[in-house]
Amino acid sequence: GAGVSQTPSNKVTEKGKYVELRCDPISGHTALYWYRQSLGQGPEFLIYFQGTGAADDSGLPNDRFFAVRPEGSVSTLKIQRTERGDSAVYLCASSLTSGTGTDTQYFGPGTRLTVL
């Protein structure tokens, strides 16, 4: 594809509901990252995948958050029992390489999650 795509672009849900956020990375990119961004702040790391496996999930806030990448391409971020504090923009990025410090991450436009 031309770039990283994320769906939905906006998601409004009620407290306590379950949500899934999808990320389609650039074809051939082995690394995929999820970040959470609050208004005016820098992205906060959540998890990154190298291929199908989670190389680092230390940024997931608690066990309500879970992410998968079963075939090493599309990834889904899943949030159970949503809370108002989960409201933020969730960004996904992919890169051809990872772990070098010079990788170019290509970001999607994000999913804006609002928990009422």
């Binding site: 990283v4 990252y33 970040y35 005016g40 702040q41 820098g42 992205p43 906060e44 790391f45 990154y48 190389a55 680092d56 230390s58 940024g59 960004l91 990025a93 990872s98 772990g99 070098t100 410090g101 010079t102 170019t104 991450q105 290509y106 970001f107 999607g108 436009p109 994000g110």
Partner: protein, 112 residues
């Protein structure tokens, strides 16, 4: 965990003025990256600096990596309204699995 603090947090200037944004840490980074993010979009990579003391130029933007590789600066000459956006620095956390850590961000508004 390594942290990156940016200053200033907000900056509003007139078109044609110069400005500098700073990215500081108490930790050493093997490299630092600068991104720009516009509303409703994801960050876009501007530059990566790798060597201590390195200076890179991208048109009117000049990026410098500190000699000790703990800090970086972004200088914009003759700012234009198109430079408006959120500027972010990012570095690799070498204490763990090389995940990327982003700075706190500098929101720049250039007035015509």
């Amino acid at each position: 965990t390594q942290l990156l603090e940016q200053s200033p947090q907000f900056l509003s200037i007139q078109e044609g003025e110069n400005l500098t944004v700073y990215c500081n840490s108490s930790s050493v980074f093997s490299s630092l990256q600068w991104y720009r993010q516009e509303p409703g979009e994801g960050p876009v990579l501007l530059v990566t600096v790798v060597t201590g003391g390195e200076v890179k130029k991208l048109k009117r933007l000049t990026f410098q990596f500190g000699d000790a590789r703990k800090d970086s600066s972004l200088h914009i000459t003759a700012a234009q309204p198109g430079d408006t956006g959120l500027y972010l620095c990012a570095g690799v956390d070498t204490s763990g699995t090389y995940k990327y850590i982003f700075g706190t961000g500098t929101r720049l508004k250039v007035l015509a």
